[in-house]
């Protein structure tokens, strides 16, 4: 095939040169490398395909060196990173399948569709493994509520997540919502999905068997989301509006039907491999399947169902239209699959077949648009160890700030609760169906969500965390803290962590300080995972999150799935009845670096974040789990952002019950954010049993008072407060919608 001329009649293809390669995001060196691999100039389609495969998004070229640090094996791990989602064995013949992924940039451009298609994408990653999705989480970071467009973005993102998740019937059971100016121009939308599958029924995306047909199922292909960079190039007749790439629009109905049809198809034994078409669409799905199986393939692109006429081979290969799946079927058994998809009114067509040539041959009406060796292209994907540098002002940022005294701790508490950051997130999650599928024991609003595993006594728990300010002030500690808090949240509902997924949201990795943050955060997460023996089984990296040249705060979101052997042992995060006695587990060390108290009340973002003592966290988690599982506590709530003061208030809200307590410290110290702490409540003799349990594990425990009445009364040597629960609740309930004017 000679290059520099049109490969396919009827489609204009621009001349290939280094400049066009640069517009495709390939560096000069990468382009040279491509020429070397091919032994000739690439065709236009080949250039598009190669640049997509070598993009940061698909190749992880800037982060791969660090991701190796994660511990990813363990006795429960069935599939680690590398597949569409990770898989862990949870007993009773079941596996938990989960992953988290970002949809940051699309959500900033079009919040509803960006967030919606983010949910759609992560669902496909999970059901493509043969799992039925049973729960979603969403981890959101927004700018200041008063920033331009911000309430529009929040509203759109929340509606989009709800619009998609509610329609497909997967409950959205939790998440996190953070507000910080560093996201004013670049919000973060990370979507997590958890599915369950029978362990013997896990599907992978490993192509096998030359001659096996390649099937395309689902929505038609349009010009959705094709490479921004290439579109800017002059290769397109200007003024041709129709050729512009378009925003991806989600179609949750088609997704729902795809889920049902694919899960049914997976019971036929006609499927060899299956993979969703995510980023870089048909390109990445086809190449990944082939490269995992060391095979080649031929596609007849004119057979790809199109939404509009006239898409070129280049566009067909790079379209990111949603709700599409690629399947390798056993030759001769396609009929069974066709029947199922047609029964569900889904479009399905055979678009090619596997070959043993090791080459990807892309044809259009018999003309060859691309002919390229798979393995060299995927193997040669670049990998960079980019320069790292500690920020010059790190020491200054970390220097211990003076902590202003809280003359009126009650007022300080009211003010904190009324912020968007610490206020109730119910305005968000009441827009999400969190009870569909009838598994939800604990939905949003607790420390971790809990879902029954029907047909077994067990339940799954899931939670997500990250504290971007801690991560900015000390990314390693911040990374460890995210894991520690998740593990603590799981322990509060009696769950033992079985696997973790992450989504690493960072700025521009070509900035050495950003690459340093990335490395440090990964090391922090890895260290914590090793300490808790939690494998990292999947994840995602989102780089180049910038706001006018200013990188976002490092935001390594993590989500952890936990196992509860017996779902009947139930705790909630709030006080349940008058007469419950309240115990504090763990000890305050008066730590304020990055705290809500300093930031939200005094506008000070400074100091080292609270220490993360992994051994102490592990002991606390063990005590909590044992206490829950032995039925020793009815209430357990971890102490995190906003410290003891906020945790106590939150514990009052669930049932509108007050408490009368005497605590050490007091004053501003009520808002210290020392890690490794929780409060529990219980009755009668169980109080002593909890104290004994804590002592046996070497965890400090202190009885501080009793639940009752409708006031929260806190006595403390350095100043307490007494406030009506209803007043606290009012401030907390309307904080978020009021800040956003929604």
């Amino acid at each position: 095939m000679s290059s520099g001329e049109n490969t396919v009649e009827g489609f204009y293809e621009p001349p290939i040169d280094a400049e066009l390669a640069a517009e495709h995001g390939l560096s000069a060196e990468e382009y040279e490398n491509l020429l070397a691999i091919m032994g000739r100039k690439p065709t236009y389609t080949e250039l598009g395909v190669a640049s997509a495969l070598w993009s940061e998004h698909c190749s992880y070229k800037s982060s791969k060196v660090y991701l190796r640090e994660f511990p990813s094996s363990g006795p429960r791990v069935l599939e680690g990173p590398g597949e569409n989602a990770g898989v862990v064995d949870i007993g009773h013949g079941w596996a938990a399948v989960f992953k988290m992924e970002s949809h940051n940039h699309p959500s900033y451009i079009e919040p509803y569709q960006g967030a919606a298609t983010g949910v759609g994408g992560i669902l496909r990653d999970v059901f493509t493994m043969g799992a039925r999705p049973i729960a979603n989480l969403n981890m959101l970071c927004f700018g200041e509520p008063s920033a331009p467009r911000m309430s529009y973005l929040v509203d759109g993102v929340v509606r989009g997540i709800g619009g998609y998740g509610n329609c497909v019937g997967v409950p959205t059971v939790g998440g996190q919502t953070f507000f910080h100016p560093s996201y004013n121009g670049n919000i973060l939308v990370n979507a997590f999905c958890l599915g369950v599958a029978r362990t013997e029924r896990i599907f992978t995306a490993r192509a096998d068997g030359p001659g096996n047909p390649v099937l395309y199922v689902g929505s038609r292909t349009g010009r959705d989301g094709i490479h921004g960079a290439t579109m800017a190039s002059e290769s397109f007749d200007e003024g041709s509006e129709a050729k512009r790439p378009t925003v991806q629009v989600g179609d949750p109905f088609t997704e729902k039907v795809l889920i049902e049809a694919c899960l049914e198809a997976m019971r036929t034994d006609a499927i060899v491999a299956i993979q969703d078409m995510g980023a870089a669409g048909l390109t990445s799905s086809a190449f990944e399947m082939a490269s995992r199986g060391d095979l080649g393939f031929r596609l007849d692109l004119e057979k790809v169902p199109l939404r509009e006429k006239g898409l070129s081979p280049y566009e067909i290969m790079l379209s990111e239209s949603q709700e599409r799946m690629l399947i390798v079927a056993h030759k001769g058994r396609e009929e069974a699959l066709f029947n199922i998809f047609e029964r569900w009114d889904l479009e399905v067509s055979t678009i090619g077949e596997l070959t043993d040539t090791g080459r990807a041959v892309l044809c259009y009406d018999g003309q060859v648009a691309a002919d390229i060796a798979v393995e060299p292209l995927t193997d040669a994907a670049p990998m960079y160890r980019r320069p790292v540098a500690e920020p010059a002002d790190l020491a200054a940022q970390q220097s211990a700030p003076e902590v202003p005294v809280a003359n009126d701790p009650g007022q300080a508490l009211l003010d904190l609760l009324a912020t968007a950051e610490l206020g109730s997130k119910e305005w968000i999650w009441r827009q999400y169906d969190h009870t569909v599928r009838a598994n939800t024991v604990q939905g949003p609003g607790g420390d971790a969500a809990v879902l029954t595993l029907k047909g077994t006594p067990a339940a799954l728990a899931v939670t997500g965390d990250v504290h971007p300010v801690y991560c900015a002030l000390d990314p390693r500690r911040g990374g460890a803290q995210a894991v520690a808090e998740s593990v603590r949240n799981l322990a509060c509902v009696g769950a033992e962590p079985v696997g973790l997924t992450d989504c690493l949201n960072f700025g521009n990795p070509e900035v050495p300080e950003v690459s340093w943050q990335l490395r440090e955060a990964v090391l922090g997460i890895a260290e914590a995972c090793r300490a808790f023996e939690v494998p990292v089984i999947s994840g995602n990296v989102s780089l180049y999150n910038e706001n006018e040249g200013q990188s976002i705060h490092p935001t390594p979101s993590v989500a952890v799935v936990g196992l509860i052997p017996d779902a009947r042992h139930r705790t909630v995060a709030h006080f349940l009845s008058a007469g419950q006695r309240v115990l504090l587990l763990g000890e305050d060390q008066s730590e304020f670096g990055g705290s809500s108290y300093l930031r939200l009340l005094w506008d000070i973002e400074q100091g080292r974040p609270p220490m993360v003592d992994l051994a102490r966290e592990a002991r606390l988690a063990a005590v909590l789990r044992a206490a829950v599982r032995q039925g020793l506590v009815d209430t357990a709530h971890d102490i995190s952002s906003g410290g003891l003061g906020v945790a106590l208030a939150e514990a009052c809200f669930g049932a509108g019950l007050g408490a009368r307590l005497v605590v050490p410290g007091g004053g501003a110290q009520l808002f210290s954010e020392t890690q490794g702490r929780a409060l529990v409540a219980t009755t009668g003799e169980r109080v002593d049993a909890v104290l004994a349990l804590a002592e046996a594990h070497g965890v400090a425990a202190l009885e501080v008072g009793e639940v009752g009445g409708d006031r929260l009364v806190v006595d403390a040597p350095e100043g307490g407060f007494a406030l009506d629960v209803s007043r606290l609740r009012e401030a907390w309930a309307i904080g978020l919608p009021r800040a956003l004017g929604l």
Binding site: C167, W429, Y432, V436
Partner: protein, 233 residues
Amino acid sequence: MRSGVIVFPGSNCEHDVYHVLKHVLGQSTRYLWHKDQEIQDCDLVVVPGGFSYGDYLRSGAVAAHSPILAAVRRHAEAGGLVLGICNGFQILQQANLLPGALIHNRDLRFLCVDAWLQVERADLPFTRGYHQGQVIRIPMAHGEGNFQASEEQLDRLEANGQVVFRYRIDNANGSARAIAGIVNERGNVLGLMPHPERAAESVLGNDDGLAFFAGLVESVAASATSGSPLEVA
């Protein structure tokens, strides 16, 4: 009791109802496909929640014309029991098996909360498990559950005793007269927005909805032994 649970493309609560009927209550239960023309051997047909055919146009509008709905209509006309939950309620309304309309929630947002419902009459097969005036807690989750009808029609529903469930404490979606569930004049077709099937097992922390289905099973069993028709006199 033999039940059929309809599956439309886009249904998403069919498994939940099936689970309660089949596994929690041990009743013979099967799925009915939206393209089916007939319903055989069912005492109860459930039109479950979800987003049938995507519900992009208007909730229930497309499903109301599916082949199975003609069979549901015949089943209802023959005195068989029909239960529409959430999207199922919307579908029955669009198919003119129940009166009124369910429009966008008052604040135009999807709303997922626990609803407190007052049981207005306990003499129906659907409510035999409760007593009149009982207040139960049932999860709801919908964007278009705001019940509306003309004043005359509302008066007629009230006078006929067709209002079966009413929101108490908070009428969050803005329904006229806080109506959460209604029955047809004959008493054998019921639609309600909240989801009793999501609150039918103690492990979930709420089993207020179990009596709904258990009451149906009892009613059907009672009518089978007495040979009397199901609907109320």
